[in-house]
Structures are given as structure tokens and as C-alpha cells.
Subunit: 244 residues, 2 copies
DNA sequence: TTGCGATGCGAACACTGTACGCACAGCGGA
DNA sequence: TCCGCTGTGCGTACAGTGTTCGCATCGCAA
């Protein structure tokens, strides 16, 4: 007889009243954002609805609106919360290439851990900066300034845009793979025949697909290597801009 | 008495029957996609609904499903249709830097002309390639191969990812500006005070905002220059990989 | 003329984000 | 002890969404 948590209770009796058992540590902006992120990670961006999120918190959907103005705002909060996971080495790092490389890899890792992030970035962009995104930008800026680039913002544009572009493309790919319910290798093998046929009269594309067909063994490492390799290209371009 | 286009007509009389005036060249996948793109360009991605699109075509919402399996598929078709606008110079271009630069600028211009594109890219990615996207990839590949890069796919990754990252970020920014109903300069000036206050204890960010406050005169040119500058960095990195 | 496959569409379903207003908890002051 | 106030939860409702289903109607082939 312990239950009867939140059923509608038309009987005006004090004894039947729900008594509001504090099963959750109450509702707050923080737990809402945290649980939203958990849901986004687990089920993807289109699976998140205010009602489902409320249910997960043992609350009604509209209760969330006491702590969050709108769903878009919630997404911005989630974006900023996740931005805290990106690690940027301190500006006095001895090896600037290693430092920038680590920052880029950390960004990518975060984007792949939360593939919905690329969708949010595509819509909201980096216009409204939350505290964590600001801190990220600041650390990145101080790193590039400390290195001594003559035009730090241009340098940041190059490496950050490359990182964003590569990461969001990968994240979108991983999302489609996840929606299929297969492993990445399975998904590739199922898609390759169609892709090869579609690329029949595109010589170079057909070549690259043929090549890809061979290396389906470890797609994760392949993506890692691709990212690292092209990042080196960008860093080489940066190095040329460095004085002396 | 010419009107009475598509009102419900309960009278079972031959003379009152609508007669199906062919005001539109009928419904077809092509006109649906074309009109969807027009709507996306004019009112943004969240303003497009199947019902509104149907209404624009003097058709019911559900009629569209005879030509398009789902809204997601429609978005993929729109993405591919728009990809046809990207211009990639022929592979026998004398100046490879100029050729790649033109391709990148054309990509960016297309992305900025259709800002919803960045949202679609963030969700669908480049996984399922339509014919136009395939042709784009093929032309890009043949260009890089003709130049003689030892690892063309790595080179493509570098410049294309940079271009995608920069363009989608800009497009997202332009979308937020458009939603505000203001010009870009107005929007910046309205936002700057808040941004500067929020960046109070981030020295380098505060600096860059102070700098930005001065140059609100021609934001378009400023973005153009930023894109071109960081692209040069990437191209410099590429040039190092070129034999002899 | 008959039949058939393709096309349009109204109604309906299961959802969505969110506004509104009521119910109640805790609390500071009378 | 009672009052009112403020902050929180939530049931209901509204306008809208993507999509399915089955029926009506069309042009065309037999």
C-alpha cells in the first residue's frame, strides 16, 4: 500500500492525499539538464521530448518549464554543459603542436560522445555563449596568443573550423549508423554495394569505395587516423605563420 | 464565379464539381523539392511543414506522400538538389590553389544562400549520397588527384572539413540573425554589451570583443576576409605535401 | 465500355511544445 | 495561530506536427 505516487486523486480526503514523497532530489535546472543529456546520449536527438524527460524525472512535462524557459533554451544549456568536457592545455605548454592537437582531439572526442551536439551546433551555432563555451574560447585564445601567432583569431578559425567540420560530419555518420542498429562495420558492408553501383560512372569515387571495402576491419581507427592526418596538414599551415 | 478552388463540396451535382483546374503543372517530385527549397530559403527550416508546403502547391498535405516517402527523404532530396549549385573547377586548371579556393568559396556561398543546409548536414551528414553530391565529390577528387597530392583523400578532408566547419558556423549565425529580424550590424550592436559583460573576466575574449565593436561597419566583408584568410592557412599546409 | 493503376485528399491517430490556472508547501510577519 | 505571499508542481487544453488509411477520381490500355 505504499505506492499511488502521482495518480489523479479526486477524493477530497486528507488521508488519501499523495503526501509528495521526495523520491527525486527535487527538480532543478541542473538535474533537468543532466538528465536531458543522458537521454540525448542514449536515444538520440529526436527521441527527446519534454514529456519523456519529465517522466524520467518522475515529474509532469510542464513542471520543467519552471526551471527552463523553452526547449531550445534547454538544448543550449545542454550544449554548454557538455562544452565543459573539452580539455584545452594551459597556455604555457612547451610544445604548441602537441597542445593544439590535444585540444582538437578533445573537442572531437566530446562531439563523438554526444553526437546530437552537431545538430545543435548546426541550428544554434556559437552565437549565444554560455560560461563553459566562453571558458573554452578563452583558453583556446590564450593558448594561441602565447604561442605567438601574429593573427591568433585567424589561426583559431583554421584549426577550430577544421575540427568542427570533421567532427560534425563524423557525428552525423555515427548517428545514422546508430539508427540502423548495426555495428559500423556491418552498416558499411550493407551499404557498400549500393554505393559502388551508384558510383559506377565516377572513376575516382569508385576507386575510393573499392579501397574502403578492403579496410572495414577497424573503422574506428581508420577515422581516428583520418582526423589526425588532416589535422597535421592544418598545423603545418599554421607553423608557417609562426615568426622566426 | 470562377473561384471555389478546393472547398469541400458536399453537393452531388456534376455541375458543381471542382473540374480540377490545372493551375499548377501538377504535382511531381521535382516541383515539390523545388518549392520546399524556396520555402526553406524564405522562412527557415522550422517553418517548413508538409501541410504548409502542400498549401503552397494548391494540394493537400498528404498528397505529397505519393511522391516522397517521408519528410526526411524530402530534406535529403533538397540537400542534393542544392548541391548542384556548388561549382568545382575542372581538373586541368593551371593554378591548383585558385581552383581549390574557388571550389571552397562556391561551397560556402551555397551554404550561406541556404542556411538550413547546415542543419540538414548536422543531422543527415554525407552518408547517403545523392547524384549531385556524388558528382561534387567526384569533381573534387579528380581535381586533387590531378594536382598530384600523394594522399588526395587526406587533402580533401582538410580543405573540405575546414570549409564545412566555417560555413555551417556562419550559416547558423546568419540564421539567428535572421530570426531576430534585424540587420547583422544591428544584431551585433544589440548583443555586444551583454557579451562584453559576460566576458569580463576572460581577458583575451574581452579584447576580441572590444576589437569587434569597432568593426561593425561591414560584417559581410569581415566574414569574407576571415574565411579567405584561414583558408590560405590550410592551403599552405597542403602545398607542403606537394611533391617537388 | 470496362477495368486498372496512379494520383489526390479528408479524416484520423499519436505526438509535439507550450500557456494557463489551480493546488499546495513553506515562510515571514501580525 | 492565522494571514497572505511566493515558488513549485501539474492537469488540462490548444494549436500544430508527421504520417496512415481508405475512398474518390482521373487518364489510359484492352
Amino acid at each position: 500500500m505504499a505506492a499511488a505516487k502521482s495518480k489523479p486523486n479526486p477524493i477530497p480526503s486528507v488521508w488519501a492525499r499523495p503526501q509528495r514523497e521526495p523520491d527525486q532530489p527535487a527538480l532543478s535546472r541542473d538535474v533537468i539538464v543532466r538528465e536531458a543529456i543522458a537521454m540525448l546520449d542514449a536515444e538520440g536527438i529526436e527521441a527527446l521530448s519534454m514529456r519523456k524527460l519529465g517522466a524520467r524525472l518522475n515529474a509532469g512535462a510542464t513542471s520543467l518549464y519552471r526551471h527552463v524557459a523553452t526547449k531550445d533554451e534547454l538544448m543550449e544549456l545542454a550544449l554548454d554543459a557538455v562544452a565543459a568536457e573539452i580539455h584545452v592545455p594551459p597556455s604555457d605548454s612547451p610544445d604548441w603542436r602537441a597542445a593544439v592537437t590535444e585540444a582538437a582531439h578533445s573537442f572531437r572526442a566530446t562531439a563523438l560522445r554526444h553526437p546530437w551536439l552537431s545538430s545543435v551546433l548546426g541550428q544554434a551555432g556559437l552565437a549565444y555563449l554560455g560560461p563553459n563555451l566562453m571558458a573554452f574560447s578563452e583558453r583556446l585564445a590564450s593558448l594561441f596568443i602565447a604561442v605567438g601567432f601574429p593573427d591568433p583569431s585567424g589561426a583559431i578559425d583554421a584549426v577550430l573550423s577544421y575540427t568542427i567540420g570533421m567532427s560534425t560530419t563524423e557525428a552525423a555518420w555515427l548517428s545514422t549508423v546508430a539508427r540502423s542498429g548495426e555495428t559500423e562495420a556491418e552498416f558499411i558492408n550493407r551499404l557498400l554495394p549500393a554505393a559502388q553501383q551508384a558510383a559506377a560512372d565516377h572513376d575516382h569515387l569508385a576507386d575510393s569505395y573499392r579501397e574502403a571495402a578492403v579496410r572495414t576491419a577497424d573503422p574506428v581507427k581508420l577515422r581516428d587516423d583520418k582526423f589526425a592526418y588532416a589535422l597535421e596538414i592544418v598545423l603545418d599551415g599554421l607553423a608557417l605563420r609562426l615568426p622566426d
